[in-house]
Symmetry: C2
Subunit: 309 residues, 2 copies
């Protein structure tokens, strides 16, 4: 099977200027830019844990497996270069499944000029597992890290948040271009991509930056999907909770000094909106501030309903 897959890959994987040697040898050889460092991230999707075939097609799984990795590179303001893909395939229909998964990656790989450089293929008696490792390169303007947010920094997010499971989680655009543009033109102190939800991912940033943050609930850009979910639940306040906690938004969260944030918010240099949703503070922890200015702790699981009086 691996032999047929490599033959298919050789016919269908485009060449790439960085790729000195692609799929079919013991390893791939990548040429990175002079003076660049390699940026490396891995994300694995397993049937049953992260997706169900039937709810998602193999192509969608391939798309997502690549996209979540590119989102991690975006969070570092890194230019994607290549990915390697390790597959675990159920024995029955393994080749077609592998071809479908890789086919799902191809348009995204082409759009972001990412080489599919190689990998590993195995069959077994278990379900589909897609393990992707993405390699990017630093630019003269990067990288961004989670640490680096400073008290006083504004907390900006791209796009709208929440309700990803209604579809966004399978077709989101990793914010690679946005990150590269922002890192080139603006000074960003810290960044993360929103994979686990604002409430959780912001915690990673404040913990690594040694500070805290306040989120202004009314300022959160709530997605139409989050509103739809809230309407289905017949709970008007649920939309904010979805925006804080659902995860898989794959938008960028940025820490930016106040004056630079102002410039960004006026410029709005991206095709997606940039919103100011709060600020970093000295005091460790996460806080939510509601429309009335009331401030309380933001729990690990995100939004807490205001206790009725």
């Amino acid at each position: 099977m691996e032999r047929e897959l490599i033959a298919w890959l050789r016919r269908h994987l485009p060449s790439h200027p960085c790729l000195r040697l692609g799929a079919g040898d013991d390893a791939a050889i990548l040429h990175l830019a002079q003076k660049a460092d390699a940026v490396v991230t891995a994300d694995l999707l397993a049937e049953g844990a992260h997706f169900l075939l039937g709810e998602a097609t193999p192509r969608q799984v391939g798309y997502k497996a690549l996209a979540v990795n590119l989102s991690d590179l975006a969070a570092m303001a890194s230019k994607p270069v290549a990915v390697v893909v390790a597959l675990l395939l159920p024995r029955s229909g393994a080749l077609q499944l592998a071809v479908d998964v890789i086919t799902g990656m191809l348009p995204l790989a082409a759009r972001f000029e990412v080489a599919i450089a190689g990998g590993d293929t195995n069959t077994w008696d278990g379900p589909l597992v897609v393990s992707v490792t993405a390699i990017g390169e630093t630019t003269p303007h990067g990288p961004w890290c989670r640490r680096g947010a400073r008290p006083g920094d504004r907390l900006l997010v791209t796009g709208t948040l929440g309700g990803s499971r209604l579809g966004h989680h399978l077709n989101f655009e990793p914010r690679v271009g946005e990150a590269l543009l922002l890192s080139e033109k603006y000074e960003i102190h810290a960044a993360i991509d929103l994979s686990d939800g604002l409430a959780t991912d912001l915690r990673h940033v404040v913990e690594q930056s040694g500070c805290g943050a306040e989120v202004l609930l009314p300022a959160i850009p709530i997605s139409a999907a989050a509103r739809r979910l809230a309407a289905m639940e017949d709970d008007a306040q649920a939309d904010v909770r979805h925006a804080l906690c659902d995860g898989e938004d794959f938008e960028l969260l940025l820490a930016v000094a106040p004056r630079e944030a102002e410039r960004l918010l006026v410029d709005q240099p991206l095709d997606v909106p940039l919103c100011d949703v709060g600020r970093f503070v000295d005091e460790a922890g996460l806080w939510q501030v509601d429309a009335d200015g009331q401030r309380r702790e933001l729990s690990e699981t995100g939004f807490e309903h205001r206790a009725d009086p």
Copy 2:
């Protein structure tokens, strides 16, 4: 669980000069040597497909998952730099299992100065899956590829072959140091690591090199384990079959011009023996030559018993 694992990793993973940013951010940042290219390979081990817990300890699984990747880098004469590790863990005892797997990697990582740079951790209802991606750098003397063997080249192998399942497959030494030494001091035309057995891996080399090869059966360095297996099977000829077909030797197979091969065989510059086991030929295909000089095709599954007269 991931949070506890990252805390453990921070305490237990050594720092590394190449590692500008390690585990715990969206990606790791690696500094490669100036003028080096990045060499990238992935290999995944899954319980049930590649190992059984009970037959192998989690530490042995971790060791092997790293070692097979380093063996691929060795086959490219690449200097290992870092690995990223994606884990799929059964829910019960996930943290301890992850710690054990990584702990199994640590001595090997230390010996070859490889940074464990980061990765991804997931729990699910399935068995243990360990997906490792290794990143190396080219040296001024490399890389080696599978293509490049020329008719007339001698076919050399390191170490002894066969019977790996008696233990070698869990504790082999990837031939990283050997490959770097050979690439620095000798001219090697092509190389591969013996993961699927000489009969299969040699086929990859001849196919990519556009030639064929003849294996001299009496010249094959047969391991003690292969002899033990043959004795257990009460079949004196079985030892050669084991040496040709068992796989997981993780020795190096090299294509070397005749005069350079002579120099290598006289020098014996490695701590393991280097043996001449045949030659590359114009005619496509693989051939076996027995002690009587009889030449026949070497089948896909390796050694074929000589038909009794």
